[in-house]
Amino acid sequence: MKKIQIFGGGCAKCGILYQHAEAAAKALGLDYEMEKVSDYEKIAEAGIMATPALAVDGKVKLEGRVPTIEALKELLK
């Protein structure tokens, strides 16, 4: 089971990243679980300084941008 976390304080882009990440995970047929992290301290604790950001199994993969679904597939593999 892959744990996909989306970090962001509720900006429009965070929602888009969430949708893109979920679409990518589905397309890959992954066994996954999504989590939204909007608590600022938790975001900072993960070492993230620009939202939206994405972590897979606790490892931060990107911050401050929303890649395409195709690019996200690469990150989630």
Binding site: F7, G8, G9, C11, Y40, E41, I43, A44, E45, A46, G47, I48, M49, A50, T51, V60, K61, L62, E63, G64, R65, V66, P67, T68, A71
Partner: protein, 320 residues
């Protein structure tokens, strides 16, 4: 470089629209067409280039660079890196905590927080396009100086006790994201970012240049010198105050201000106004309230505001 654009503007204004070269309408329309095209070419080209560069400098990389510097160099670096890092109010808190909790001093963090919104690429491109490179450079240099000095003062005042809303004793590790992004992704990011910005600013740019063109063509020369010339002491503080609520609208305001400067508003006043628009942003202050007491915000506001006014007075005095 913009000769073909001028030829196109001439052709459209005098040829297609049939306006007379010496008429006010002809001047205003020509000015509008030329400036709009020029500004959009500059915005698209420069934002794209800056975004590509940014993919090599994510915030965690910026933090790592600052962490390695001594305190004074830290201020210089923080302000410089603030220029190339885009500032988004929604990222202000993670950014702030990310600096403080990895052990970057409060003053150094403020140097970054002042420079990042004040010296942004949209403002610089607009200044370059409407006023020329000298004014754009003057603006960037003054903004940089204000960021470094405001951070140094806040650091000296030892205001760490005015932070609140988070665990200050906690230290987090600096996790640097790999910069191993494929080029296709860098280009995608830059394209998206450029389009995002253009989508956001285009109506303001059009309105700003439109009203600017009208002022350029119809308002008599030196009309404003009487009210906002270099000899009017109140012009600078007034311009700073008026600029505060106009945050993040540099794209629409710079063409307007350029037209006003032409009609007699002194240069220092113009610079102060621009800096207040970009550097004193109410949403930013409101969101920062979550991690600091109001008193610290007021001190921050006061120091940056004073720096902006000082810059305004200084240039009005020098250029008089």
């Amino acid at each position: 470089m913009f000769k073909p654009v001028q030829m196109f503007a001439d052709w459209l204004t005098y040829g297609v629209f049939g306006l007379g070269r010496e008429t006010l309408a002809g001047g205003a329309v020509n000015f509008f067409v030329f400036d709009t095209i020029k500004i959009f070419i500059l915005l698209a080209g420069i934002i794209y280039a800056v975004s590509i560069m940014r993919t090599f400098l994510p915030p965690s990389r910026v933090r790592e660079i600052i962490l390695k510097k001594s305190r004074f160099a830290g201020h210089l670096w923080a302000a410089a890196l603030g220029i190339v890092t885009p500032f988004c109010t929604c990222s202000a808190i993670p950014l702030f905590l990310g600096f403080i909790q990895t052990g970057i001093p409060l003053g150094v963090t403020f140097s970054f927080l002042v420079a990042s919104p004040m010296i942004n690429e949209v403002a610089l491109i607009m200044l370059f396009g409407m006023f020329g490179w000298k004014i754009a450079l003057l603006y960037a240099a003054s903004g940089y100086a204000i960021a470094v000095i405001a951070g140094l003062i806040i650091g000296r005042l030892r205001l760490e006790h005015l932070l609140e809303g988070f665990d200050q004793t906690k230290r987090v590790q600096n996790a640097v994201l790999g910069a191993d992004m494929p080029w296709a992704e860098r280009r995608d990011y830059a394209k998206d970012y450029t389009l995002d910005i253009l989508k956001k600013v285009w109506p303001y740019v059009l309105i700003g240049i439109g009203v600017g063109a009208w002022i350029h063509g119809y308002v008599p020369q030196d009309l404003l010198a009487r009210y906002a010339g270099a000899d009017k002491w109140y012009a600078v503080p007034l311009a700073t105050l008026v600029g505060i609520p106009l945050y993040s609208n540099a794209a629409g305001i710079i063409p307007l201000v350029s037209a006003l400067t032409e009609k007699g508003v002194a240069l220092g006043t113009t610079l102060a106004f621009m800096m207040a628009v970009t550097g004193l942003s109410l949403p930013e202050f409101m969101i920062l309230r979550r991690v600091m007491k109001a008193k610290l915000l007021f001190i921050f506001f006061g120091i940056v505001g004073a720096g902006i006014m000082f810059t305004g007075f200084l240039f009005n005095f020098i250029m008089r």
